[in-house]
Amino acid sequence: MAGGAANALTMSITRDEVAKIASLARIRMGDDALDSMVPELNNILDWVEQLGEVDVTGVEPMTAVIPNTLRLREDEVDAIPQTAGGRREDVLANAPAAEHGFFGVPKVIE
């Protein structure tokens, strides 16, 4: 076992936790859906627990798949048409509710 990290991987997920995760992920779940999801998630989580066996001492988590560093672009407005601004029509075209050039959402109270 590879120390502390592995130990955290030995609990199973409860129904309440699944409900909390679903709420974090903004997926409404009824009782039935929760009931069937709990064992499914536990199966998967039990299985991935084996990662805890791997000795990762001194290993850096992978960041770039292929050795490559971040490329920066120049500060130029609308340099590439596909990523330019000024496309209100295109941006709003698929909106379920668009009015006066805005997207509409149910009223938010801050």
Partner: protein, 498 residues
């Protein structure tokens, strides 16, 4: 001035303040897309497919935004991290199209730095104080929600979505509203010196999240609240005042302060719980897999360093040590970019015109720039055309004064005409007779006549009544209709009276 304390029923309370300032990075295009950052456009007109998080869209970072963050970090003497990463901060809100904000949590681009706030008796800051800065990271701004346009809907405008922000996070080192105010003002000055943010708080270019807690002096930190998006120095101070008192009330009535996000209402000067952020957040930060690690090369850092201007503290010290200005003048002249820029242009022009080193004309230029010139401008009101206030014209006036050709009063009169008409100061002095006489012949003539007419006073003066010297000066100036050069008058009187 003593330390800032809240007097509660159970004794004194100390306030602990930390600020997270969001400063919009000065750039033409957004952080991850080519859309413009210009302020005030039609809703959703400056939104790219990337900013609207259409399916399959990807971020590509803007070099200028990275550069400005690095330069800002250098300006607060911070550690610049040659390796940094962008992380996703995940949460759902209508102003956040991706469902996450690209920010930097684990490896910010700028590490520990600091900022000096100066003693200011008037503001209640007893002595100079260093405020620690924990980090600066680069992140995306969100869009804007409008709640008052429709009875049942909020409207979403994504023009700001994806604009680059620097989040500048202070240590909880401030202990009074005044210190927090001074910190924001100083930070704003530095950002504007560097040119990394325009500091325009009304347009939202700078907003502060104000973290406030209270404690009995010497005790552990209390639970803090965070009041979001406060957009003026005055409001920052109001939030602290209000929150500190509210928390003391809560604690003294046996309650506990909730760690929560609050909203400031400028109308009432109060804060309240932010309903939309009620549920406990779990932002699930992780490195953005669309973006590789950001690694800065030495040459990039060199360029950032080389392009930094002289910063407020260094400039203020130099004004005192090299230009011989008073601490007050030095501080006033370096507080704002426009002020020092105007001053330095004028100083150069004055020195050139007079033919003396800047240090020798700095004091008179500073006095002119800080009190004389603004006074004239103010007295004229709408009659003055600020465009006429050129460095060249002002330098001419100061040069004439330096040579004794005009008096201080004449300088003001000439400047009035300059501001109203844009005419040339030397031409004005000649045409309007606004010159003092330095011609010794004319002055000698006047002095001789006065001595002749006041022999009794001459005797008294020579007998030791020194104060009468002023009488002779006055009489001479009167005879010369105020246009005589006082120095020449003095010299001639001294010679004649013996």
């Amino acid at each position: 001035m003593s330390e800032y304390r809240i007097q509660g029923a159970t004794g004194e309370w100390e306030v602990v303040i930390g600020l997270e300032v969001h400063a919009q990075v000065t750039s033409a295009a957004k952080l991850f897309s080519g859309a413009s950052t210009a302020f005030g456009a039609e809703p959703n007109s400056q939104v790219s497919l990337v900013d609207a998080a259409m399916p399959g869209m990807l971020p590509v970072p803007n070099r200028e935004c990275i550069r400005q963050a690095v330069r800002t970090g250098m300006a607060i003497e911070a550690q610049i991290n040659r390796y940094s990463r962008f992380d996703r901060k995940n949460y759902f809100y209508a102003d956040l199209p991706q469902g996450y904000q690209i920010s930097q949590l684990y490896h910010p681009i700028v590490g520990e730095g600091q900022l000096l706030i100066e003693a200011d008796e008037k503001a209640g800051i007893a002595q100079d104080k260093i405020i620690g800065i924990e980090r600066i990271h680069v992140e995306q701004d969100a869009g804007k929600l409008m709640h008052d346009q429709h009875p049942t809907m909020s409207y979403v405008d994504l023009n700001r979505s994806g604009v680059a922000l620097m989040e500048i996070v202070s240590r909880p080192d401030m202990r009074s509203p005044a210190e927090a105010g001074a910190y924001v003002r100083k930070l704003r000055a530095i950002l504007r010196y560097v040119g990394s943010c325009d500091g325009n708080m009304e347009e939202g270019s700078m907003r502060a999240d104000v973290n406030v807690s209270v404690r009995k002096p010497g005790e552990e930190f209390g639970t803090r609240t965070e009041t979001k998006n406060v957009n003026s120095v005055r409001f920052v101070m109001q939030v602290i005042e209000y929150e500190a008192n509210r928390q003391v009330d809560v604690l003294e009535n046996g309650g506990t302060v909730d760690q929560e996000t609050r909203l400031f209402d400028p109308g009432t000067g109060t804060t309240r719980t932010m309903r939309s952020k009620e549920d406990a957040h779990d932002y699930r930060y992780f490195p953005d897999p669309d973006l590789l690690p950001l690694e800065l090369e030495e040459s990039f850092l060199d360029e950032c360093r080389a392009s930094l201007p002289e910063l407020p503290d260094a400039k203020r010290r130099r004004y005192e040590s090299e230009l011989g200005l008073t601490p007050y003048n030095a501080r006033e002249l370096t507080a704002e970019v426009e002020t020092y820029a105007r001053f330095e242009t004028l100083l150069g022009a004055v020195a050139a015109k007079i033919g003396k080193p800047e240090a020798e004309v700095a004091t008179q230029t500073a006095n002119w720039a800080l009190s004389v010139a603004p006074g004239v401008m103010k007295s004229l009101g709408d009659e003055a055309d600020p465009a006429n206030a050129t460095a060249e014209a002002q330098a001419s006036i100061l040069a004439m004064q330096d040579k004794g050709e005009i008096s201080g009063g004449q300088a003001k009169e000439i400047y009035e005409i300059v501001l109203k008409t844009g005419r040339d100061p030397e031409e004005i002095a000649d045409a309007e007779g606004l010159k003092q006489v330095s011609d010794t012949g004319a002055i000698e003539e006047a002095v001789d006549a006065i001595i002749a007419a006041n022999q009794d006073k001459v005797e008294q003066y020579r007998g030791g009544k020194d104060k009468l010297f002023g009488f002779f000066v006055g009489q001479t100036m009167k005879a010369m209709q105020g246009k005589a050069n006082p120095a020449v008058v003095n010299q001639i009187l001294k010679d004649r009276l013996g």
